[in-house]
Symmetry: D2
C-alpha cells in the first residue's frame, strides 16, 4: 500500500528553535531514499506504507537521541485504491484548474 503523508514533528523541552531537529529528520528521509518535499509548516513524504512509517519512527528516535525529552507530531496520511497519484500529480490537478486559458 502506497501512502502520502504530511508530517510536522515538534520537539518539546528544547526551547523555541526547532530547525536542528527538522534538519535531522530531513536527513532521515533522505537516507531512507523516500521522495520528500519540505514546506514552511511540515514535510510531504510518499512511498510504501511500511517504509514511510519506519522513517517516521526513526525521526522520533533521532529527535529523542538529540536530547528532546518529549515530541508531539501532527500528521496527515492519504491512501487510495482507485489510482496512483504522486505529490506532483496532486499539485498539478489543482493548478490546472487555476490556470488562465
Amino acid at each position: 500500500m502506497q501512502v502520502m503523508i504530511d508530517i510536522c514533528i515538534v520537539p518539546l523541552g528544547v526551547g523555541v528553535s526547532v530547525s536542528d531537529y527538522v534538519a535531522a529528520c530531513q536527513r532521515v528521509l533522505q537516507d531512507a531514499g523516500l521522495k520528500h518535499q519540505m514546506h514552511a509548516y511540515g514535510t510531504n513524504v510518499e512511498g510504501d506504507w511500511d517504509q514511510v512509517m519506519a522513517a517516521v519512527k526513526r525521526c522520533h528516535e533521532v529527535v529523542h537521541a538529540m536530547g528532546a525529552p518529549r515530541i508531539t507530531t501532527s500528521m496527515r496520511m492519504g491512501t487510495r485504491t482507485d489510482r496512483e497519484q504522486s505529490m506532483d500529480d496532486k499539485v498539478r490537478s489543482v493548478e490546472d484548474k487555476l490556470s488562465p486559458v
Copy 2:
C-alpha cells in the same frame, strides 16, 4: 517506544455518513488489544509504537476493503523519554489544576 496517538480516519467517496467506517476501526483497535478511547472527533490510542502503527495500517486496509476508494487520516503522535504517562494521567494533570480547592 510507547506512543499515544489521536487519530481521525476520513473515508472519501462513500457519502457523508462515516460512522460504519469509524465503528470498524474501533473493532480493529479492540481486536489489537490496545487501550483506546473514542471522542467526538477522533480516538485516543496508547501502546507500543509498532503495535499502534500496525493497528493504524489495519484500519486503512479495513476501510478500503469496506469500499472506500480514498482515505485521508489526521493523527497526532506523542512520545516521551522523561517519564511514562498514560491517557488517564494526561487528563488528570489538567483536571487537578482546574479543581476548586
Copy 3:
C-alpha cells in the same frame, strides 16, 4: 454556521510540562460559554463558528501572556449543511453500531 473542532494547543519554549497552559485554555472555553470536552490529546468544542474561533484566538493570547514565546496548534474543524449533529450525536452514532444486540 455551526462548527465542531478538536484542538490541541502546544506551547514551545516552556519545558515539557504543558498542563498549566491546557488548564488555562479550558478556562477560556468555560468563560466563553462553549460546550467542550477534554480528552487525552486535545479538546472538542462546538458552537457558532465566530464564537469558537474567537475562543481559539483568546487561547493563543492567554498562553502567550503566560510566558510561552511560541505556540503550535493542531486543529480539526467540521461543518455540515445537511443536518445538525452534536458531539454526543457523533459518538452515539458509532456506539450504536458497536453495541451487541
Copy 4:
C-alpha cells in the same frame, strides 16, 4: 497577532476528486490578498490572525456553496511573540543546516 497556518480542507459527500474545491479555496486566499503556498497535502498561509481566519471561514462557505454537504479540515496554526518569521524564513533556517559547506 500574526499567524502562519497549514490547512487541508476535505469536502465529504462529493466523491473522491477534490481538486475543484481546493482550487476554489486557492482563489479565496488569492482574493483575500494573503500570502499562500500550496503543497501536495495542504496550503501554507501567513498574515494577520483575523484576516487569515476570515479566509478560512470563507473557504468553508464557498465549498459548501459548491455543493459539499460536509467538510472536515485539518489545520496547524503557529504564533510567536519572540520574533517575526515568514514562511520563507522557516524553510531557509532548515535548509541552511542541510547545506554542504
